[in-house]
Amino acid sequence: MPREAEPSLSERTFTLQAISEGLRLDSRKLDQFRPLELSFGDEYGVADVKLGKTRVLAKVSAEVTVPFSDRPFDGIFQITSELGPMVAPSFEVNRPTETEILLARLLEKTIRRSGALDTESLCLIAGQKCWSVRVDLHILSADGNLIDSSCLAVVAALRHFRRPDTSIEGETLTIYTAAEREPVPLSWLHSPFCTTFDFFGEDGEIVLVDTTWLEEQLRVGSVTFSLNKHGEICQISKLGGKPVEATLIIQCAQMALAKSKEFTDLVDARLAEDAKRRDKGGLMAELSAENER
């Protein structure tokens, strides 16, 4: 297995020196994100997020299965992430690295355990039939800040996704194709987003957002906030690293809230654009069998 690439001494000292002077290598401000691009595929449930050179693709799929016996009223919802040799030769298939495990756990906590998707609505016949929704996350290229971009991609893909419409008459379950009935969106409760803050300096007093791969290698600690636009925190994780001041954490939380609102607006705007693109002839409202809530 090839070794993980490491920055040279010159890169280390210079980057840290520049950060302590308040400068970043790409001339961004310390609290500025790289240009963020979100686009949806032709199919429902494909979201592509580009953040600088980082690129993440999320694909949602659904199938009908038998629910778990201990949870007969719940559907199945899982997120799988994949970091393969395409990202860097140091990542191997079927041998998850620490980065990959932490990413998977964080997404699990942020999106699944925070109840963003109403799994009860995925149940079709209690104990017998339910929808199994699966998100496949493909990291296409990694240049730092995988967590924020992955979370955004997963949330956007799930909100974009439409599952086939179903009906139950007596004991018979009918699943309609897209030609018969317009597919329906998932029952989505809230959109949590991650924002990662990286600490630099002797006591971790300098805070950066959206770090590149090089900066990520040199940080002394990091904290990830997951929260929705209403300021409801799903999780905060600070995994090791230098201890930082409590006041700094609170400032970070404020910034995370602002960022979360920004992300929400971005996803809403892109979803609206995409809906407009698909709504040819303005017939979508009539095609939909859903009731207004």
Partner: protein
């Protein structure tokens, strides 16, 4: 040689008129070409076909991809680790390291050889590059015993550029036909800096001011990634200088 550049894809047929035919010298094949006996020439890379009638040589030039060491080229390497006699030097990420004998520095003896920590940068020349073998480097001219500017690079910052950009930067001014003017423009704008380019797509920049280093690095990287023309490069430099002040 025709002025129109010729591009080939792997497996393409090469027009016989493009292959140099010197009366005495044998044809020399450069990288990206393969001789299929008895008399066929097939490109193995996608890129520009370059012929040198004087040397009776032909090769394919690409601007992307991983660096493959070739004898005589100047590279910037990062020391990985030190063994008893040699340093292991990485020329590009995730590839087998090249070997740099500890005695191949200017006036180095067993007692006075430079001690380089892992992560230190060296400017070196490739002396041995065979297929299926680790490449070898030197930081001293074997014939004169002088460093000629090679050796450890201290301080500064290392930027990664494409291999094609590194080639352009290392070309003599006349040969590159004014394709890269960023560095000259930056110097004309009054910035003081020092650069070293490695053929392996590395650019080392040093200056007294942190801001200058960042500006130079960004200018080169943007020129490379967006493949800017000369006029666009001048515009970019103007923009960067404005941001600086």
């Amino acid at each position: 040689m025709s002025s129109e550049p010729v591009f080939v894809l792997p497996g393409d047929h090469i027009d016989p008129s493009l292959i140099p035919s010197h009366p005495k010298k044998p044809v020399r094949l450069g990288p990206g070409l393969r001789h299929v006996p008895p008399s066929d020439l097939l490109p193995t890379l996608a890129g520009q076909l370059v012929t040198d009638r004087q040397k009776n040589a032909i090769r394919v030039e690409t601007s992307n991809g991983r660096y493959i060491p070739r004898v005589g080229e100047l590279v910037i390497g990062t020391i990985n680790k030190s063994a008893s006699e040699v340093y292991f030097v990485s020329l590009s990420d995730y590839t087998a390291p090249a070997l740099l004998p500890q005695l191949s520095f200017e006036s180095a003896t067993k007692k006075t050889r430079p001690i380089l920590a892992p992560g230190a940068l060296v400017y070196a020349r490739v002396t041995l590059a065979n297929k299926h073998m680790d490449a070898e480097l030197e930081c001293v001219s074997a014939s004169t015993g002088k460093a000629d500017g090679l050796g450890p690079l201290v301080g500064g910052m290392l930027f990664t550029v494409s291999v094609g950009m590194a080639r352009l930067l290392m070309m003599p001014k006349k040969a590159q036909q004014g394709k890269v003017v960023v560095l000259d423009e930056l110097a004309d704008a009054g910035l003081q800096f020092e650069t070293a380019t490695g053929r392996n797509g590395r650019l080392w920049v040093d200056s007294d001011s942190t801001k200058t280093i960042i500006v130079v690095g960004r200018a080169i990287q943007e020129t490379d990634q967006k493949s800017l023309g000369a006029d666009e490069q001048r515009k970019l430099v103007k923009k960067l200088i404005k941001e600086l002040s």
